[in-house]
Symmetry: none
Subunit: 210 residues, 4 copies
């Protein structure tokens, strides 16, 4: 009986989690079409194929869905960063480039969604905070690479590794922004590639720098 109860409980929980995901995905899919604020709860539930009221069993407020999604994204990013094992690489710059490319490929899949999230961040302190912590995490991670690179003389040494990491992350973000602001976009990964290439001199050691 315990067992059957557990199993049943699990099924229920699974179903619950599934509905939650359905709601989030419905919202994401709609955000490809228009900004979050213009999406009604009803549209979301319709696309998720649940009743309108069900929405509020999962998210006390429409806004909470966005934050829940962002939370998932944050966790995903953390996991991704943890799985990286860049020690094996010969050039840290190369590592940076490759990591950024992977992220760019991920982010680059949906222009509309990224725009929606961006706009949402403009108006929402919580969301901004979450993004900030994601960025901090990424910066921390990059920091290690830059420290190694500074040690080997690959990177410039007249600024702190922290600053290098910081500006590297910014570089990625400018690409993201550039991308969502253009009407006829180059694919994000390319944009990143070009931008990195251009700004490389600001990171690498120049033999003759005094």
């Amino acid at each position: 009986m315990n067992v059957s109860k557990d199993v049943a409980g699990n099924r229920r929980e699974r179903r619950k989690e599934e509905t939650r995901q359905r709601l989030i995905e419905a919202a994401l899919s709609l955000m490809q079409e228009k900004p979050f604020e213009q999406i009604s709860v009803e549209e979301i539930t319709e696309r998720a194929d649940v009743a309108k009221g069900t929405f509020f069993n999962y998210f006390p407020t429409k806004e909470h869905l966005l934050m829940a999604y962002m939370q998932e994204m944050v966790e995903e990013v953390y996991e991704f960063l943890e799985q990286l094992h860049p020690e094996s690489a010969e050039s840290q710059w190369e590592v940076l480039r490759q990591v950024m490319r992977v992220i760019a490929e991920h982010d680059g899949r949906s222009l509309a969604l990224t725009r929606s999230m961006f706009a949402a961040c403009c108006h929402n302190d919580h969301l901004r905070q979450m993004v900030a912590s994601m960025i901090e995490e990424a910066t921390q991670h990059a920091l290690m690479g830059f420290q190694k690179g500074q040690a080997t003389g690959e990177f410039r040494q007249d600024v702190s590794a922290r600053d290098l990491a910081h500006y590297a992350v910014r570089l990625y973000r400018i690409c993201l922004m550039e991308w969502i602001m253009e009407n006829d976009s180059t694919p994000l990964p390319e944009l990143v590639e070009q931008t990195l290439e251009f700004f490389k001199p600001a990171f690498l050691n120049q033999e003759v720098r005094k």
Copy 2:
């Protein structure tokens, strides 16, 4: 009678223009408090001290006000750029820095407003187009400086002046974005200063670059 009519017509036109400005300013002032979409026409007209219906005598749609304002901004920027006479300067990099500082001081006055405009751009193709043309204009302008700087050997020559200009403008925009995304912001001009300083090596000529 012709004359008096003209005079009357002028007064009328002046008043009309004045009301228009009052509406725009009311909207801007409200955008310091909350995003554009959360501002109602009634709030705007109330602050502008006109009747609700009057709004639609000036802007066919709430959204048109935003575009009208952006149009004004564009024109303002154009005027500003035309008034610059940077030929007299000895270092083009210095010119760039000073121009950016002036712009940053201008933009830096209202965080909330800038956020609002940013978010609006995310959702509005027209607005984005306007911003794009502003940026293009700015890039054009910067181009001249970089051409001179390349000629004197001040700037790197392994990339086109166009690219230099392009990335310089991007650099400004990343600062803008960074600024609106932080919750506890450094003043925009400082941010610009620091960022420029960091990325300087990506623009300047390095004696020993092969």
Copy 3:
């Protein structure tokens, strides 16, 4: 031109007042059918034959309608009391009886409405306050009668005229309550008549009784 404007303004104002009254009356008519809380704004506007949104041009909240109505009632009662000229009467008790009868006839027209107002008062401090001030006003008015009656020896003198007035008003209210709580009601005026008759000894001077 001034004149025509004024006339137009007046027409507008008249229409506005008319709509307001229509809304109030629609609400009252619905309150004969069910308690206020169970009436939706839509029902009210439908019966008043205006659009749903119009309601909120007149009352910021559904509740405000009730208070507006109560305000009107209060003013009506004040006016009524002012118009009374009971000085001419020979017996103050008779005056009291007649006044109560008039009021009872007025209140007695709608059982359901009175119930609704009563219930609303239970939950609403503002409403209660208004009722309280109405009652105070009525008490003040009754006070004068009782003072005269005490002077002529018609009323008992071992309690203050204030108390006499106070309890007289209470007596009316108990009838009102009794009336709304019965399922098969005697008409309110009769109820008042009987009740007054029964409690007369508590007001009149003893000596007079045989």
Copy 4:
């Protein structure tokens, strides 16, 4: 096995009754905070620490809980009245006063709850019926006292004992109503005391008065 079944059955029944009581008490406790209609089933079940669905195993409808509670109150009052043995008293008026005081002390404990019940009665025929039967019961009981009192000459004899009882009960109810309608209430027992004192002459035999 029969036995164990019975025992188990008893336990089950005890638990069932207990849950029922918990639900009722939870509702009552909430009614101290806001009117019944504004209380959701979920709030009740939460406070009773059972699942939402459980509620409907005990009461087919939210409203039924109120009636169930009222039923309990009715029975309680019946029991209370039965336990009274007022024969021993010398003055029936004194008996009346003391009984009313006891009831007033009971009712006087929760203003908000009393208001809630009152309002509920306004809208609910069943509830009103129950109250009516409670009142009838009380009146019946009072009747005996008044008969005795009339026999001894304590009470006036120009009206029926039935009427005396009737108006005595009304007197209590007016106090109750007065109490819930005031914003700054005198304690109910005091109110009752004062009111009884004032209206005494309407009950007692005249000759007896000094």
